[in-house]
Amino acid sequence: MKKLLAIILFTTTVTFAQQKTPPPPGPARPLNLPKITEKKLANGLTVVLAPLPNVPKISSILTFRSATTASDRDAHPGIAQIAAAVANEGTDTRTSKQIKEELRSIGGTLSLGSDADSTTMTASSLSEFSSRLFDLMSDVAQHPSFPQTEVKLAQENTIQQIRAGRADPGFLANERFQKAIFGNHPYGFVVPDEKSISALTPADLKAFVGKYFIPNASHLIVVGDIDVDKTFAEIEKAFAGWKSGTVPPDENPPVPRREKRQIYFVNRPGSIQSAIYIGNASIPRKDKDYFAIRTADTIYGGSFYSRLTRNIRETKGYTYSPFSSSNTRAKTGSFLAGAFVRNEVTGPTLLEIFYELDRMRVLPVTDEELSAAKEYSNGNFSVELASQFGLAGRINTIYTYDLDKNFINDFRPKIEALTTADIQRAAAKYFDTYRAAIVIVGDWDKVKDQVTPFGDVTMYDAEGKVITK
């Protein structure tokens, strides 16, 4: 009775008139593409400015293109990461606390991070305090002092944070995936080992920054509520004294090629899910297939209405958030598909991930799918350009990877030009199921029978050591 009542009440709400088909779009609105100005300082620093006065703030990225996790890696593994972590903890004239307090008083942020292609300083403040932010950025770029106490604290805390991270299946899966794809290449580096971290001295870090933080291999992007001329004058004043240096040779060798499909199993006894990452190396950022693989990814698993999500989430209920991503860097990139699934469906999930990858390789996508993926890319590109850090980040990739300066204006035409044949060709080449690395973080005893049909297994513990099954 109760049930019947509920149904009647429910159906009464659907008797009103409602439109049955989606309304058509209105006329297209102007794109408002950003106006980007590039300038250069006498010391070689490239400065790129783009007004975006959506809020009274500025957002900035300063990229040191030579300071990569490959730099000095043989002598000092991990030095780029620790240098980035400690550079804003003291300069010749400011203590760590003074830097943090100055940031608070300008409503600002300033942090550094490094990867295998560059080190970036990311900073922001209220626009009324822009000159103070530039002074601080310049000071951290030129005069980090690496105080002994700050270096020691960062060493201890980094070691502890990495230990804590080894409890997280996502951290373990990513670390093993990068190593599986890139081996001993700098791109395979995720976090340094404890011995390497402990061995670093303030003198090492100072020497590293002196050699690699140089204006003639760096670029500064500033986006926000700015006046181009006034802002450039502030930047010139703050950064003019930064001395140029000798640009070090590129320390990233070519990337090794994988020859066969292989399972890398990180054993996590007691795990109630398997974290699955599947993929392979792909293309450098500048490669002509960038747009094709990006769009193939959107259709495969990179958007919500993707094939992978419809299959293993909406149809089968194996997982909450299946994903795929195309990550492209200077020398090469990677394509990755994955999901976190309950133990019982580990094998079936591997089967479906491979089925959907192979379907993309063997059969063309439909015209409807391609047209939807194009709209998705173009629409979301507009959203990205409407945020200060979105636009700054996009400009940063142009300068970090030496892309065509018209990248932003050419984005739509390049997406529009793609055909279903382009997508299939890119998928056939880069969704390389035959040589895929399969990384699983889970409970070996619970899932081994589901996993072994997919390839030879090498097993690791959470510390990354090879262990016997």
């Binding site: 709400t13 297209a28 307090e101 945020s387």
Partner: protein, 456 residues
């Protein structure tokens, strides 16, 4: 609701009059245009034009969150949120995502303490698509046994990936709330117990939809590169004939005052390092103490210059990190029930929770006795203003704030004056707030340590 609004305004006025002759370096006044009205069926509508980019955010916020889910059905409000993507009279299962993405947009939903939202960002010439999609599911959600089963499986995996298979298991939210609050509506696990998530029936879904997903319990917000008058016509066309529903009385959400400190010890099978979570009950948002508390939270743990961060991470080197804030999931404006300020910190092996608490208390005692400096307060206000602007940067960010102000205060126009009470806080008010609220009897502490390994 109305009472809260009136008190809020009275409070703002009182503070303004009190400080009329004190001047601060204030922000340029905001001038965000907001059109706000209600349809005859009770739907609140807020529209704000912003032509900086050819995009629009379309959001619907329902006045129901974890707190109002039925007893024996923890996690239900969130499970229901998933059901809103399972189709309606004219939109098949999961096609909402297809329509939005194939038209250049992105979409999501979120369940919170006091609201559940659904939103899409679209190219602005597709605004009517967003309105049509939201109206179709508000009017005629399609609920089937098969789709419920599917989403119960999906949500179970969500709980496994974000809670059960993770170190710490979200203890600074789930366990802290369970211990800090005594009223079930506030204290229960909003992500849900797996057994209760999977016990939900199709009748539960229908009844929840009927009760809470009515136009008179929602706000529709549109922000972006659109024409207000055109949007008003579209809203009328798609939403005006959705019938309103009688609203059930809201359960009593009040909490009895806490009189004794609560201390809880937990062990963690997965974590490698010990961690601590602390929650202090906050004054209600309409209390004259609230803006001072918000600034005090900023001064204590808002950034790396904050007092607790400097003391725990830098000076005493006791902890690795410090996170938390005034509202675990959101901000000062997007909730309405009782709230705690949370602090979470991972501390170093070889130290104890008591050591960490002692240092936190010493910092509070210093503020409660000596107060904060004028510069510290002025800087905290700059930081506060800067963070506030960041919330307004995207069309969705603005839509979020407008929706919360419409839902909980019936006045989204307040977006332009929202900072004022916070800019007017004095050092004396900060000192008094520290002494009044940051006392042991008003807090809950959870110490969570790695489970001892049997092989050691």
């Amino acid at each position: 609701m109305r009472r809260l609004l009136v008190s809020w305004l009275v409070m703002c006025l009182a503070v303004l009059m009190l400080l009329a002759n004190v001047s601060y370096a204030h922000a340029k006044p905001l001038n965000i245009p907001v059109v706000y009205y209600k349809l005859p069926n009770g739907l609140k509508v807020a529209i704000s034009e912003d032509h900086i980019a050819p995009v629009v955010a379309v959001a619907v916020y329902y006045n129901v969150g974890f707190r109002l889910e039925p007893k024996g059905r923890t996690g239900f409000a969130h499970l229901f949120e998933h059901m809103m993507f399972q189709g309606s009279a004219n939109v098949k299962k999961f096609e909402h995502a297809k329509f939005v993405e194939a038209n250049g947009g992105s979409l999501n939903g979120h369940t919170d303490f006091d609201y559940t939202n659904y939103y899409q960002t679209l190219p602005s010439n597709r605004v009517e698509l967003g309105l049509w999609l939201e109206s179709d599911r508000m009017r005629s959600l399609d609920i089937s046994e098969e789709n419920l089963k599917n989403q119960q499986a999906v949500v179970s995996e969500e709980v496994r990936v974000n809670v059960l298979n993770q170190p710490y298991q979200f203890f600074e939210w789930i366990s802290l709330w369970e211990n800090a609050f005594t009223n079930w509506n506030n204290s229960h696990n909003g992500y849900g117990d797996l057994a209760e998530i999977n016990a939900a029936t199709i009748d539960d879904v229908r009844s929840f939809f009927k009760t809470y997903y009515a136009p008179n319990n929602a706000v529709l917000t549109v922000v972006g590169d659109v024409d207000v008058n055109e949007v008003k016509k579209m809203v009328e066309k798609h939403f005006a004939n959705i019938p309103s529903q009688p609203m059930p009385p809201r359960p009593d959400l009040t909490e009895p005052p806490q009189t004794k400190e609560k201390r809880v010890s937990q062990t963690d099978k997965l974590a490698k390092l010990p961690a601590l979570a602390v929650g202090y009950h906050l004054p209600p948002q309409n209390s004259p103490d609230f803006p001072a508390m918000a600034l005090l939270v900023q001064i204590l743990q808002g950034d790396d210059s904050s007092r607790w961060y400097q003391r725990l991470v830098k000076e005493k080197e006791l902890t690795l990190d410090l996170t938390g804030g005034l509202n675990y999931f959101g901000n000062e404006f997007d909730y309405t029930g009782p709230m705690i300020m949370t602090t979470r910190t991972t501390y170093k092996t070889g130290h104890t929770a008591d050591e960490v608490i002692r240092e936190m208390d010493a910092v509070v005692a210093d503020i409660a006795s000596k107060g904060v400096t004028e510069k510290e307060l002025a800087d905290a206000k700059v930081r506060y203003r800067s963070n506030f602007y960041s919330q307004l940067e995207s069309s969705f960010g603005k839509a979020h704030l407008l929706s919360a102000l419409a839902l909980f205060r019936d006045d989204p126009q307040q977006i332009n004056t929202l900072l004022t009470p916070f800019e007017n806080v004095t050092a004396a008010q900060i000192k008094a707030a520290a002494a009044k609220y940051l006392v042991a009897t008003n807090r809950t502490v959870i110490d969570r340590v790695p489970e001892a390994k049997t092989d050691k």
